[in-house]
Amino acid sequence: MSAPSITNYIVKRPWLKRWMTPLAQWYTDAAGYRRIGLKADDLIPEESEVVQTAIKRLPPQGGLRPCLPYSPRIPGSSPTPFTCSISHTLLPAEEQIKPHEDVEYLSPIIREIEAANKEREDLDHLTVRK
């Protein structure tokens, strides 16, 4: 799932990071996914074996995102990203995802699985030097 990224290049250079951070924050906010109740990790395409495995490994309470259709008659339901999307509406400001709530919940697991896959690959092509 990983796409080419210049994050590491920037993070290693503090002056560049200082310079880029506000820009990145503005960009992420402008992307607008937080306004319909999504987190960055919700945007990861799930049509891959790695992501499917990662979703299975999520702890039970974090495994399901609210997906009930919104209706004032259904108690406990909330306008979800899906309903927001089809009705072309945004959530009220207090219900939008705040920057501090937009944390990685899936990516660490994906990185773990990718590391394990890479290790498997490496060990399969291992040469023994004595």
Binding site: K56, R57, P59, A116, E119, R120, L123, L126, V128
Partner: protein
């Protein structure tokens, strides 16, 4: 401690970095190292914990992934395995003698740094546990022996060695819970290392280096290794319908392991006398049960004294066609009555004594059984196996003692478990046993 009389049987016992180590110098190109932890199904806090702990051995640790461990061991040409019994979880490694430091480090790592991740539990360990259940519960003899322990000892020794498919054990199992159990199970005071090989003297050096970081016991929690309550024999009857086959186990309170207070050499002599399985091909042998069941072609009989650190179970197992098992169990009880009445030739008792002695000594000498027996002796705080004393104890058994122990079986409360086509299998009452 290798004396001239028995140069290779004796284990040299020492304590390094707070861990008990027994080693035995054996000439040859390979060595073995086993870790015996007092964490078998008897001591588990909830069902399935010992099984899961056993199956989590050599999985990902803080330093290496499970795959890396497997590949490294493949490259070195060793063998790693883990098993558990009612009293112990045993991690075994076998290797070329030069690789001793690597495998010592590996065992220390497994014991102290296994990660117990939830995804390994769900993706690997719980599947392995299910296969284990299928293997155990499709074998009527195993089911009968397990149920006999349950009837005889209730909790502790009586808890099933592997939870049955209908046991709700999943709700207790989690990575966190197992990690807490492991911290206690692999604590310094709860494990013993048993090594054999040409350079076993180096063992304590490597153990001192790698095992220093082993935990000294987990924090107080519900997942601790359960304290030892002295085993008590109850006895009774249980009938389990099954389509897998037929088995009947007739059990009595037997002898505990050698070196413990409840050791009775005469029980092992009686086990050899009753027997049922011949140690020589193409002949039924001298044993009373093989004679008593000679006419039955679809039947196997065996007698064992299964010994533990503070109790034992003397079991007679019959398995085969339901009708034959039913009829033969009456013959078995008659044979036991004959032994109790002393209607056995002294020559047969001599043969039985010789066989019992051979079995006891062989089980210590054979690596597979000897490793666990030695380690178990160390963690349970009894005397380590001493060849000379076992032989003496068994030789000293008199005809009268064998008769007495058979008599006590018949007068006390028996344990009877029937598995299979219970419509055809006998009740204790039919056999003339009180259960």
């Amino acid at each position: 401690m290798a004396t001239a009389a028995n140069p290779t049987f004796q284990y040299d016992v020492s304590e390094t970095a707070g861990v008990k180590v027994a080693n035995r110098e054996v000439n040859g190109a390979t060595g073995t190292l086993a870790l015996v932890a007092k964490a078998g199904s008897r001591y588990q806090p909830f069902p399935g914990f010992s099984d899961a702990l056993e199956k989590f051995a050599f999985k990902s640790t803080a330093k290496r992934s499970a795959l890396r461990i497997t590949r490294e061991v493949e490259l070195l040409g060793g063998e790693i395995s883990s098993t558990h019994s009612r009293e112990n979880v045993v991690l075994r490694t076998k290797f070329l003698a030069n690789d001793l430091p690597y495998f010592t480090e590996l065992l220390a790592e497994v014991a102290s740094q296994t990660k117990f991740t939830d995804h390994e539990l769900h993706e690997v360990v719980s599947d392995l546990l299910k296969y284990q259940q299928q293997a155990v519960y499709s074998n009527p003899e195993a089911v009968a022996i397990d149920a006999a322990h349950g009837v005889a000892f209730h909790r502790g020794l009586g808890s099933p060695i592997t939870p049955s498919q209908s046991t709700p054990y999943e709700k207790y199992l989690s990575g966190d819970a197992l990690a807490q159990f492991a911290q206690d199970a692999y604590a310094k005071s709860n494990v013993a290392l048993v090594a054999t090989g040409p350079n076993s003297a180096e063992v304590s050096k490597w153990v001192g280096q790698f095992f220093a970081g082993l935990s000294t016991g987990g924090a107080a929690s519900q997942y601790k290794v359960q304290p030892t309550a002295a085993s008590k024999y109850f006895g009774g009857e249980q009938r389990i319908p099954s389509k897998a086959g037929n088995a009947v186990v007739i059990a009595f309170p037997g002898s505990s392991a050698f070196g413990t207070a409840g050791y009775k050499a005469e029980a092992s002599v009686l086990a050899a006398l009753l027997g049922g399985e011949s140690s020589i091909k193409y002949t039924p042998g001298f044993s009373l049960l093989s004679k008593a069941t000679e006419g039955f072609s679809q039947l196997t009989v065996s007698t064992k004294n299964i010994s533990y650190s503070d109790a034992g179970l003397f079991t007679i197992t019959l398995s085969g066609a339901a009708g034959q098992v039913g009829t033969a169990s009456k013959n078995v009880v008659d044979a036991l009555k004959k032994a109790a009445a002393g209607e056995v030739s002294s020559e047969d008792i001599k043969k039985a004594t010789a066989l019992a002695k051979f079995r006891a000594l062989e089980s210590v000498q054979t690596l597979e059984t000897g490793l666990e027996a030695t380690g178990s002796g160390l963690v349970h705080g009894s005397k380590p196996y001493q060849i000379g004393e076992i032989a003496q104890a068994i030789e000293g058994v008199s005809e009268q003692q064998v008769k007495e122990v058979a008599k006590s079986f018949l007068s006390g409360k028996a344990t009877l478990v029937s598995v299979g086509d219970v419509h055809q299998l006998p009740y204790a009452e039919d056999l003339g046993l009180s259960a």
